[in-house]
C-alpha cells in the first residue's frame, strides 16, 4: 500500500475549497443576522394597544405605570396597584408582564433573530 494515493490529494483539495467557501458563506450570513433589527414592546390596556420599539433606551409613563426600556429589555419601575407584582418581576427580555388590577399587559417580543427556538440535548 502506498502512503499517499492520488485520490487523497484530490480529496484534500476539494475539502479545503469546500471549507473556504463554506466559511465565507457562513460568516457573510452571520454578519447579516448580527445587525440589530427591532424587537418591540406591546402594551395592551383597556381600550388601546400601544407598540414601542426596543431599540431606543427610554423611560415613560403610561396611565397607571412607569416603564423603562434598556438594552432590549423592559421593566416596570412604578405601578399603582396593591401587590406590585409587575415591579418585582424586574427586567424582562422576552415574555409578558401582567398587571391584573389595571388590566394591563406588557408583552416583550425580542427581534426574530434573538432568543432560542429549540434546545436539544
Amino acid at each position: 500500500m502506498t502512503l499517499v494515493k492520488k485520490n487523497d490529494i484530490l480529496f484534500f483539495v476539494i475539502l479545503a475549497s469546500l471549507m473556504i467557501l463554506l466559511g465565507w458563506a457562513a460568516s457573510a450570513e452571520r454578519q447579516r443576522h448580527l445587525t440589530p433589527s427591532g424587537g418591540e414592546l406591546v402594551i395592551e390596556r383597556p381600550g388601546q394597544t400601544l407598540r414601542y420599539s426596543l431599540d431606543r433606551d427610554r423611560s415613560f409613563s403610561i396611565g397607571t405605570h412607569t416603564v423603562e426600556i434598556s438594552a432590549g429589555r423592559v421593566r416596570v419601575t412604578e405601578a399603582r396597584c396593591p401587590l406590585k407584582t409587575c415591579e418585582k418581576q424586574g427586567w424582562v427580555a422576552q415574555g409578558v408582564i401582567i398587571c391584573a388590577p389595571n388590566r394591563t399587559a406588557f408583552i416583550v417580543r425580542p427581534s426574530r433573530e434573538e432568543g432560542y427556538d429549540v434546545i436539544t440535548r
Partner: protein, 173 residues
C-alpha cells in the same frame, strides 16, 4: 449443510460484529460523558469502529454495526424519541454512505475526515429540515466541520493502528 469451515468464519464474523457493536456503544457513552470546552464539537470515538468494521469485515457488516450502535445507544441512553436520535441516524448514515463509497479509493485519514464531514452534513441537514429551519445554522455547521476535520484526522490515525492489530489477531474458535 454448511461446511465446518464456513460455520467457523460465519461465527467469527458474528462475533466480531457483536464485539465491535458493543465497543462502539461503550465509546459512545464515553463520548457523551466528555464535556469539551467547545460546544459544537464531539470527538466521535465510535466512528473508529465503523471504519474498523469496514476494513476487517466488509460493507454489510459495517452497516449492521452502525445500525445496532445507533439504535441501542438511543435505547440505552433514553433518546429514542428525541431529536438527537434522528440527528445521529442521519449523521451516521451519511458517514457510512461516504465510507462505503470511498474506502477503496482513499487512504485511511482522508477517508476518516470525509466521513466526519458527511456525518456533520447529515446531522445539520436533518436539523435544518425538521427542527430549526434557520440559516444561522450555517455558521454552526462551519464550526462543527472545523472540529470534525480535526477529530476525523485522529480517528483515522487510531483506526489504522487498530486495523493492523485486528488483521493480525486470529480469533480462535
Amino acid at each position: 449443510m454448511m461446511s465446518s469451515h464456513g460455520k467457523r468464519t460465519m461465527l467469527r464474523r458474528l462475533l466480531l460484529i457483536a464485539l465491535l457493536t458493543a465497543m462502539a456503544i461503550l465509546l459512545n457513552a464515553f463520548d457523551m460523558a466528555l464535556t469539551l470546552p467547545v460546544p459544537s464539537v464531539r470527538i466521535g470515538l465510535s466512528h473508529i469502529l465503523t471504519i474498523v468494521a469496514l476494513y476487517t469485515l466488509g460493507r454489510k457488516e459495517a452497516l449492521l454495526v452502525v445500525l445496532f450502535k445507533v439504535l441501542l445507544s438511543a435505547l440505552l441512553f433514553g433518546k429514542l424519541a428525541s431529536p438527537s436520535f434522528f440527528i445521529a441516524l442521519a449523521g451516521n448514515s451519511a458517514a457510512l454512505l461516504f465510507l462505503t463509497a470511498a474506502y477503496r479509493r482513499l487512504s485511511l485519514i482522508p477517508l476518516s475526515i470525509g466521513g466526519a464531514f458527511c456525518n456533520n452534513l447529515g446531522q445539520i441537514l436533518v436539523v435544518y429540515l425538521f427542527f430549526v429551519p434557520r440559516t444561522e445554522l450555517l455558521w454552526y455547521f462551519f464550526l462543527m466541520l472545523l472540529g470534525g476535520t480535526m477529530s476525523g484526522f485522529f480517528m483515522g490515525l487510531l483506526a489504522g493502528l487498530i486495523i493492523k492489530r485486528v488483521n493480525h489477531a486470529v480469533v480462535d474458535l
